[in-house]
């Protein structure tokens, strides 16, 4: 997994609540058997008009969002299905971090598995970022996982929390399966214990 330490990039704002995974990557694009290639379908139904041309009314198509690598959105981002295609599509599009007041649990876990940083900021901080977005000018943010802080223009500064285990995995880009495989003795002991109790049949 690609480690995440610090990232500076253009921010795109998507001031919508409850953005669900069906919007992030609609089901007609879930049939690929690879992890890559989902970026062009990100937010498909919002992003393109029926004739396939970009929808000028959609936030990511705005000129100031060109080249964005940080997405700022409303609460409960990523609710709905467990499809990991959602973080794959966000990452493939070029996002390294998503900032929102809250995330759906499975989506949050899926981001952590892919080196895509999901940053929970307080509501007021996210609103301040929406306000920056409303100016219609491109703006950059810096997300620093080493000090758990987001900084931006006009003195924007906000701290965030992340559980220490997840944080370490991301900072070091560790392979979680590799980590768990090191616990093999414990897993085997657990299985023996349960078998003796007649619980694993």
């Amino acid at each position: 997994m690609q480690p995440f330490t610090v990232h500076t990039g253009i921010a795109a704002v998507l001031p919508r609540v409850n953005v669900d995974t069906d919007q992030i990557i609609p089901k007609q694009f879930l049939k690929r058997i690879e992890r890559t290639g989902f970026g062009k379908h990100l937010f498909h139904d919002w992003r393109y008009l029926p004739d396939g041309s970009p929808n000028p009314g959609f936030e990511l198509n705005a000129p100031q969002a060109a080249g964005a690598s940080i997405l700022v959105a409303g609460p409960n981002f990523g609710c709905g299905s467990s499809r990991e295609h959602a973080p794959w599509a966000l990452a493939d599009y070029g996002f390294r971090a998503v900032i929102a007041p809250s995330f759906a649990d499975i989506f949050y876990n899926n981001c952590c598995q892919n080196g895509l940083l999901a940053v929970r900021l307080e509501d007021a901080a996210v609103r301040a970022l929406f306000a920056l977005g409303e100016r219609g000018e491109p703006f950059e943010l810096t997300v620093d996982l080493r000090i758990n802080r987001v900084t931006g223009p006009a003195g924007f500064r906000a701290g965030f929390d992340m559980d220490p285990y997840r944080r370490q995995m991301l900072l070091e880009g560790l392979d979680e399966i590799g980590q768990t495989l090191r616990q093999e003795l414990r897993i085997a002991a657990y299985e023996r214990r349960m078998e003796a109790l007649g619980r694993l049949v």
Binding site: R16, V17, N18, D20, D22, Q23, P26, K27, Q28, L30, K31, R32, I33, E34, R35, D45, G74, P75, N76, C79, G80, S81, S82, R83, E84, P87, S102, A104, D105, I106, N109, N110, Q113, N114, D163, P164, Y165, E176, I177, T180, L181, Q183, R186, I187, Y190, E191, M194, G198, R199, L200, V201
Partner: protein, 493 residues
């Protein structure tokens, strides 16, 4: 005496292989369900790292999400879907996993077949790369959805790193009125607490109304836990649970069965155990629920009206309401009953078990699908389908003008050919009414099977209670409509 514990705590504690100080726990997974859409990249990951499946016998694979529900003898028309199905078949073979493929009499939606086979058992930990894994919680199993990387993790290690969630008690008390079902209970809950209302929590459903539900009804309730944002939903196993499981293919037999039941009885939440949060809902006055918006929390009584955005309490709420009504093509303040529908879908892991089909059939029997409405029934599994056919339910539906399909997820998510056209309005027994969920531009109204069946007959949303007199057997929930006398209604063709 040890501390009183909740059902969740007991199942969790029994599966902790290793707890990190201050961090997540390594949790042992008893049963891993696998389907074609969220697994190919996981198997590929195993292959690239030269890893094996640790416990193939604790894994169970089926194809459901994008399989066609028409003629099973024809090849899958969509080449990409066909490749996904083929990929699962070859992965199952290569890694030695049991697979229920399209030809299997046990094929079906993964959350329908797990319980049907008796593979889902109380006290287990169960995961699947699908958010509605919460369904299995109806048996007192801790069951939750995971992403593809975690699927790979479980395949390789039979374990998962998990943060311990908080707990929330949901008490449903009282007696369900006739025509009101398990689906209405859970929709009302989501309406009350919102789609993120249970984030970070595992729900335990309790109370007299839960105890009286059949296993089918309990599965419907647990299924939609995720729509309230919950990690999982649980119900303590009882005689209803054991009655359902006994004799099923993978359930323990003989002395092992007796020992298992003994153990399962100990899973119930101890008196005095503490939940982080608690909510009580009285079902005695509950009305049939229908969603009007673009998430399952946008829901109300069938007798109600579309909300008026201008009355929203914040700018965000007003904006979200306006977007939803615009997408749904609804006028603020319009009554919900009377909204014309183009399509009716009776299916999905929420409401496509035998009891659901019986309830819907009891509304449809002797009536016709309204002119211009396309209605379909997609049984949850091939076993459900055959059992329904043995009772003649297929004929009831077909005579009324419904399409009678093979099992799969079908129009619940519209990955196969069963999709809504843009602007089409659908009465659906599924679980998500997100924009585009059932087809780009499609407008989904979630409701119970009897409500969807009534919408098919009338051609518009309607209170199913208009069609039946009060049941002689109050509290039978989904069974209410079956066998009860009907008043004469004109189905307005």
């Amino acid at each position: 005496m040890s501390e009183p514990r909740t059902l969740f705590q007991k199942v969790w504690d029994a599966h902790v292989v290793h707890a990190m100080p201050r961090g997540p726990a390594l949790l042992y997974i008893d049963l891993h369900l696998v389907h074609e859409v969220t697994s190919p990249q996981a198997f590929e990951g195993l292959r690239l790292a030269g890893r094996q499946v640790r416990r193939p016998e604790r894994t169970l694979a089926t194809v459901d999400h994008n399989v066609p529900t028409g003629d099973r003898h024809l090849p899958i028309a969509d080449p990409v879907a066909a490749q996904q199905v083929r990929t699962l078949t070859s992965n199952a073979r290569a890694f030695g996993l049991p697979l229920f493929d399209l030809d299997s009499p046990d094929q079906g939606i993964v959350h329908v077949i797990g319980p049907e086979l008796g593979a889902t058992q109380p006290g287990m930990t169960i995961v699947c790369g699908d958010s509605h894994t919460s369904t299995h919680g109806a048996f007192g199993a801790l069951a939750f959805g995971i992403g593809t990387s975690e699927v790979e993790h479980v395949l390789a290690t039979q374990c998962l790193m998990q943060q311990r969630p908080r707990t929330m008690e949901v008490r449903f008390e009282g007696t369900l009125p006739g025509g009101v079902t398990a689906k209405d209970m859970v929709l009302a809950l989501i309406g009350r607490i919102g789609t993120a209302g249970a984030s970070g929590h595992v729900l335990e459903y309790r109370g007299s109304a839960i105890q009286r539900l059949s296993m089918e009804g309990r599965m419907t309730v647990c299924n939609m836990s995720i729509e309230a944002g919950a990690r999982a939903g649980l119900i303590a196993p009882d005689d209803t649970t054991f009655g359902y499981l006994e004799g099923r293919a993978r359930a323990p037999k003989g002395a092992e069965w007796d020992a298992a039941v003994e153990r399962w009885r100990g899973l119930a939440t101890d008196a005095g155990a503490v939940f982080d949060r608690s909510i009580t809902i009285d079902v005695s006055s509950l009305a049939p629920q229908v969603t009007w918006g673009t998430n399952p929390g946008m829901v109300g009584d069938i007798s109600g009206r579309v909300p008026v955005p201008a009355e929203g309490d914040s700018a965000d709420a007003r904006g979200a309401l306006e977007r939803a009504l615009h997408y749904m093509g609804l006028e603020p303040g319009a009554p919900l009953a009377g909204l014309k529908v183009d399509r009716v879908f009776i299916g999905s892991c929420t409401n496509a078990r035998l009891e659901d089909l019986r309830a819907a059939a009891s509304v449809v029997r002797g009536r016709k699908v309204s002119h211009g409405v396309r209605a379909m029934v997609v049984p949850g599994s091939q076993r459900v389908k055959h059992a329904a056919e043995a009772e003649g339910l297929d004929e009831v539906f077909i005579e009324a003008g419904f399409e009678w399909r093979n099992s799969g997820c079908s129009m619940c998510l519209g990955m196969n050919d069963d999709v809504l056209g843009s602007g089409e309005r659908c009465a659906s027994t599924s679980n998500r009414n997100f924009e585009g969920r059932q087809g780009k531009g499609g407008r989904t109204h979630l409701m119970s099977p009897v409500m969807a069946a009534a919408a098919a007959v009338f051609g518009h949303l309607v209170d199913v209670r208009q069609m039946v007199r009060e049941s002689d057997e109050p509290g039978r929930g989904d069974d209410m409509v079956r066998g009860s006398e009907r008043t004469t209604v004109s189905a307005g063709r």
